[in-house]
């Protein structure tokens, strides 16, 4: 223990000594526990072999995931093939694929009005619209912001903090702040009327409502994606830029030939995460617009929530079937994204 870095002479200041002592107090029991486990672990390794030890280490985490992820997924699938309003699976009548058949019964999938469960399909259409606009705006703005914040500008640290700040806020708080700004007697309308304009009812016009849903979502989450891209930009070797500078390569060419190709893995992460998060959007838009006007900003997840919990007949089966459909779509999208990324890498 005496040769521990914690006890090195350089650490012997007053505060450092206290910290070193504290560290020793924390480390000691862990160290002892490790020594105690050492014997049994060696025994197990002797029996099952070194390669299989990896599975042993994965097991505790897998059990945790199993309990809180795989078990609920299993229960969800059970609910999707049962009907009625009972809460316990044993009390629910088996209906096979009826919930899916009801959900997918459409005259034309391009026109939600022809579907039996039109709210679900309106939610699907809105979610696709939301995801397309949101991901495009999110990736583009995050990229521009990251490129600017990677330059040697004054107050760079301050701006990085400012852009990241909304990420720390709860989605509900974000939505409430923007609701106060955008409502009839909100800040934006106050500014418009001060400038001599007429109040705009942002949450009454379907196009405005969708625009603000996308805008608020981008505003709230852009900082996170900017950070990922910024990390990617900083990992690009500086000598590549130096070489380009020596060759007098134009900036746009440097961007297209060096920055973007080397940033591609980070871009893939950003696109996949933005896509998945976009498809799961609920709380922000729900608080901001309530899904309205009509169903103009009703998202799939809100449909699932309302079908399961806020309707008088709490239709868990239908909601579970919609969850399964959403889960499958997300899974396929993720696979496609990864396939695209892999092809690019090759």
């Amino acid at each position: 223990m005496t040769d521990s870095p914690l006890a090195s002479p350089s650490a012997r200041g007053t505060g450092a000594a206290v910290l070193a002592e504290l560290g020793r107090v924390v480390v000691l029991p862990v160290h002892l526990a490790m020594r105690l486990l050492d014997g049994p672990m060696r025994g197990i390794q002797r029996v099952i072999g070194a390669r299989r030890m990896a599975y042993l280490f994965l097991l505790p985490n897998f059990a945790f995931f199993g309990l809180f992820v795989f078990l609920p997924i299993g229960i969800n699938i059970v609910f999707s093939v049962t009907g009625g309003t009972a809460l316990f699976p044993s009390e629910r009548p088996y209906v096979g694929g009826d919930q899916f058949a009801y959900l997918l019964d459409c005259g034309s999938y391009l026109d939600p009005g022809t579907c039996r469960e039109d709210h679900f399909w309106r939610g699907v259409a809105n979610t696709i619209k939301f995801v397309v606009f949101q991901v495009a705006a999110m990736v583009l703005l995050s990229l521009i912001t990251a490129l600017v914040l990677n330059m040697k500008i004054r107050g760079r640290g301050f701006f990085r903090a400012v852009y990241f700040f909304p990420v720390l806020l709860s989605p509900v708080v974000v939505a409430l702040i923007w609701k106060w700004i955008l409502q009839r007697d909100g800040l934006l309308n106050a500014a418009i009327t001060t400038l001599g304009g007429q109040k705009i009812l942002f949450f009454v016009d379907p196009s405005w409502a969708m625009f603000w849903a996308v805008f608020v979502s981008v505003w709230a989450h852009m900082g996170f994606y900017t950070l990922i891209l910024l990390a990617g930009l900083q990992a690009i070797p500086a000598d590549l830029y130096e070489a380009a500078e020596m060759d007098a390569t134009p900036r746009w060419r440097v961007l297209l030939r060096i920055t973007l190709p080397l940033l591609w893995p980070n871009m893939i992460v950003v696109i996949v995460l933005a896509l998945i998060k976009g498809a799961q959007t609920f709380d922000e838009v729900f608080v901001l617009t309530g899904g309205g006007p009509g169903t103009a900003t009703l998202m799939v997840v809100q449909y699932i929530y309302e079908t399961a919990f806020s309707n008088q007949v709490q239709n868990f089966g239908l909601a579970a079937a919609a969850s399964v459909v959403l889960g499958v779509v997300l899974f396929v999208l993720t696979l496609l994204q990864f396939a695209a990324a892999r092809r690019k890498e090759v």
Partner: protein, 430 residues
């Protein structure tokens, strides 16, 4: 060891004392849970009454869980379905939760008192087919009805329509007033199926067919839907309320009315105490009788009941508490302090004194009490129907879509019929 002996001795003595003096009392105390939501001050009043009950009944301790109204509609049913519900709760969807209700009749000292004073309302709380159960009592009878900003009418120099004026008369008047005083909401209706039916019953809807099953879309219904639709087109109603949210979401206009932006607001008697407190002297407001239509001038009755649940482990204690709260003097005090229209026939007949009520509030309560006498039997039947909220929710969801321009009224009618049939079938699946 010498130092440890007195410590151990004193610990042993404390344990003995706790067993002898504290033990039996603690073991005999039954804790009951009551889930409660409030529109006004009724939570404070109930907390006060429960404290008094505990002073007289030391063996029963009641924990009052005060929750938002949304939790009563969305969380409580799941809690009850999972067997984790409270012993009692104040609920609005009495029919929807009736399958979880406890029949207090065998546990009550005087069931006849309940039959005679809560008789018509007990049917709202009973499971379908049940005719004898006593699941609880009404914490208030509510009557839907309009509040009018009298000051805006005076500023506009326009006379208020009279007592038997139609909905169209009122719509015309409030539009004129709003135009003159620049109020953004001439007429506001809570985005609620219950409030919609205050119009629909007056417009002559029958709700049920000859076989007793719901036939929601009839001529009276269509007339009402057309009115609401046209009012949104002509600016009598602002799309901001019905058109700004989706699905079954409730949207009130309390804030807009308090801020003097609404000329006429169709809500109900439960808002009285809140408006008295929040509007104060800012402007004069009155409650007016429900406007009329071809079906009469009916309001929608409603209210909240305090219901006991059969999942309770202490049915006897629950019955004792319910007897105390439903007794005439206690309930009279509750109604008087909470400024509620009584849901107790004896007290309704005697009349409640509202000593804390301002003249505005007293006048409003008088109007609502008078409106209660004009309620149509169809309105009572609709309110008491087990699946009424299925109908209410389908109506606002689909009509909301038509109002926001997403679908046509005809399509909304078809969807309402399909939604009601599908949800009732789902509920009946065994």
């Amino acid at each position: 060891m010498r130092a440890a002996t007195p410590v151990l001795m004193s610990f042993a003595l404390s344990l003995l004392a706790a067993t002898v003096f504290g033990g039996p009392a603690a073991a005999d105390t039954t804790t009951l849970r009551m889930t409660w939501y409030s529109d006004g001050n009724e939570g404070e009043v109930m907390a006060d009454l429960l404290k008094r009950f505990h002073e007289q009944n030391k063996d029963i301790d009641v924990v009052l869980d005060q929750v938002p109204f949304k939790a009563i509609n969305e969380n409580l049913p799941v809690q009850l379905a999972s067997g984790q519900g409270p012993d009692m709760a104040r609920v609005v969807d009495m029919g929807g939760l009736s399958r979880y209700a406890l029949d207090l009749r065998p546990l009550l000292k005087d069931p006849a008192y309940w039959d005679s004073n809560f008789g018509p309302f007990l049917a709202w709380m009973r499971p379908p087919g049940e005719t004898q159960a006593i699941p609880g009592f009404m914490t208030q009878l509510t009557v839907s009805g309009p509040f009018v900003n009298k000051t805006l009418f005076e500023q506009a120099g326009i006379a208020m329509p009279g007592e038997t004026a139609s909905w169209e008369d009122w719509a015309k008047a409030v539009k004129e007033v709003a135009g003159k005083v620049q109020a953004p909401f001439p007429l506001a209706l809570d985005r609620s199926g219950h409030r919609f039916y205050a119009l629909a019953v007056s417009e002559g809807t029958k709700v049920f067919g000859a076989n007793g099953e719901p036939e929601v879309v009839d001529e009276g219904f269509k007339r009402t839907a057309q009115l609401v639709y046209d009012w949104h087109k002509s600016g009598v109603m602002s799309k901001e309320l019905w058109g700004s949210v989706s699905g079954t979401a409730y949207r009130g206009a309390n804030d807009e009315f308090k801020n003097a932006q609404v000329v006429m607001y169709l809500s109900g008697s439960w808002q009285t105490s809140q408006f008295a407190k929040t509007i104060g002297n800012a402007f004069d407001w009155v409650a007016v009788p429900n406007p009329c239509g071809p079906g009469g001038c009916s309001s929608m009755p409603g209210g909240a009941g305090l219901i006991a649940f059969k999942g309770t482990k202490h049915p006897k204690e629950v019955a004792r508490l319910m007897e105390y709260l439903a007794s005439e003097p206690v309930l009279a005090e509750f109604y008087a302090r909470a400024l509620f229209v009584p849901g107790h026939l004896g007290l309704a007949k005697k009349g409640i004194d509202y000593p804390t009520a301002s003249p505005d509030v007293a006048a409003a309560l008088k109007v609502f009490t008078a409106s209660a006498a004009k309620i149509s039997p169809i309105a009572y039947r609709t309110q008491g129907y087990t699946n009424s909220r299925i109908i209410f929710n389908a109506v606002i969801s689909r009509l909301g879509q038509a109002v926001s321009g997403e679908t046509t009224l005809d399509d909304a009618y078809k969807r309402i019929t399909a939604d009601v049939a599908q949800q009732i079938a789902e509920r009946n699946k065994k």
